[in-house]
Symmetry: C2
Subunit: 345 residues, 2 copies
Amino acid sequence: MDDGKRDVGRRVTSFDVAERAGVSQSTVSRALAGSPQITPQTRARVTAVAQELGYLVDHRASRLRTGRTDTIAVVILGRPEDATRSANPFYFELLGSICEAASQRGLEVLVSLQSEEGEFFGDYVGRGQADGVIVVGSARNTRAWTHFRELQEASPRVVFWGSPFDDAGWVRSDNFAGGRLAVRHLLEHGYRRIAFVGPLEERLGQFQERFDGYAAELAAHKMEPVFLPSYDALDRYAQGSGAAAALMERDPRIDAVFAASDQLAFGVLEYLQSHGIAVPDEIGLVGFDGMAAGTICSPALTTVAPDLRKAAAMLLDAMDGTAGPSSERVPVELIERASVRARKA
Amino acid sequence: MDDGKRDVGRRVTSFDVAERAGVSQSTVSRALAGSPQITPQTRARVTAVAQELGYLVDHRASRLRTGRTDTIAVVILGRPEDATRSANPFYFELLGSICEAASQRGLEVLVSLQSEEGEFFGDYVGRGQADGVIVVGSARNTRAWTHFRELQEASPRVVFWGSPFDDAGWVRSDNFAGGRLAVRHLLEHGYRRIAFVGPLEERLGQFQERFDGYAAELAAHKMEPVFLPSYDALDRYAQGSGAAAALMERDPRIDAVFAASDQLAFGVLEYLQSHGIAVPDEIGLVGFDGMAAGTICSPALTTVAPDLRKAAAMLLDAMDGTAGPSSERVPVELIERASVRARKA
DNA sequence: CTGAAAGCGCTTACAG
DNA sequence: CTGAAAGCGCTTACAG
């Protein structure tokens, strides 16, 4: 019954450090927290003892006490299937930037892949696990977005990347500008009939905006958009190659494609290559996302890339809750690679 | 001074639910935790009130009380530079599998990208943030590994993926078998002089093992290994294309390459393509890792893929601490794609 | 089957 | 500048 001093298993607490250092527990806490009202000598002694005993502040206790969590949650949505396989690699690139930005602000990052209805969960704030949550992922998982939209309405600290909903609470690429950029680039490089590849029927805010930019730039040159009204519900890659096939057959004059995402572009590329159509000589191709894999395909993919560093910073800012629900645009840039020919018009 | 009942900002606690449901706080706790000694009626009432008030258990408090965290930490090491850019995408694929496996076991996942000395940190267990930590990442970041090795010696709940150290505490691909598999596949498809691409001087446990498997299989066929003694400290992609160049020049009889990782293979592919060397007809190519990007390059990359599902499960098991420090092998499988010709020998 | 109470390990007013 | 004490919100023996 005697509690004993079984060193084994017992956590080293601030009381242990206090005893050993000959100060009170509150002093240990203050010294280690860097309180300015602690003597340098005291702090030095406490720090030394803490190190000696291998003491580390228990975050469960400090966070319970302070009410903070210093943590953000990132929810990555996959399609309703295998979450890992169906999560677009782009989201992992974004996650990388978020981790880096969070770390600079002294925040930890909790990651959750979700795809199936029933496992949707974003109440990290309510459970005291995070100060806010960022939701990114497949816009096609409608049920997931509906779930998180409700959550967002109840809590101001939920921010979406992309989001199929147009009202506030998101950060997005400057999709319209990106669409114009892609088309202008293709026109400047001598292409004359530019098709758009990407499904628009899915309430995909971002794809629609990219299309709008594409169409606007074409209109400025008195050109007509060329695109498919509907897509099968396959993965992006298959959608891309399928769309390329349908489009080429329908309109042989097409000499360039703007794909609404890099994954779609990879599918387009696959189709073109397997049909002996030369890229960029016969067909020019521009993607969207700036994915790392775009350097590996051949030819390397010219693409419109959002500034992921800024994206991460904006997401964290939006989560701060200081401002109300916001809608922020991340600037995009065209990365010239090899899927557009060099020769100018 | 009166605390008042400002609903705003105050957390809903189990006391609030208790009051409203007309039971004690302990009953609320038990009911919501699913304790079998609570009447169905009581549980139903409590659950209803909890829902009504939007009550959620505060994990900071419950974890402090129970001593558990139900969380694991995953540290992803980049090269000492930009953490995001330098973290191999393969690690994000592995992270995806870990997230999925963790979620099935009811665990949360904390992710940290680390690359610079000074920011290395893995004491999540000591701080009560996680029950264990998995370290994955660039074997080239020697200082990072040294840091985490010390941590591992002090704590049994630190597990490495890969790891440049051979003693226990890791999960690795079955690299030796993978090396043999790759070579056998190339031989069976008619290639006769197979070079190895991958730096071996970096104390890279995994690369060395892949080489050993490669060399062993060649030896079984009375063939000699062909490889480079040293590599420049560039990224894997550049190492791959550089090695391909050096190797081809040195030995024109080479008709196949086994690359120690997919990233290296992508570099090799880039060199071959930009020099008009046909893959798979003139040169066969096999990578290692089973990365998704391997389906996008052209020709698509034949590769040796570890079973990431099993890898994740093994990592979590190893972290459980039930067994002592272990060394587990993840089975690998050869994924046939297009960088090896179909024609049999 | 339910309640009163202790205690997890901190931070931070409040005194001195 | 330091200490004694309260309290963050739970879980879980201990009673009844």
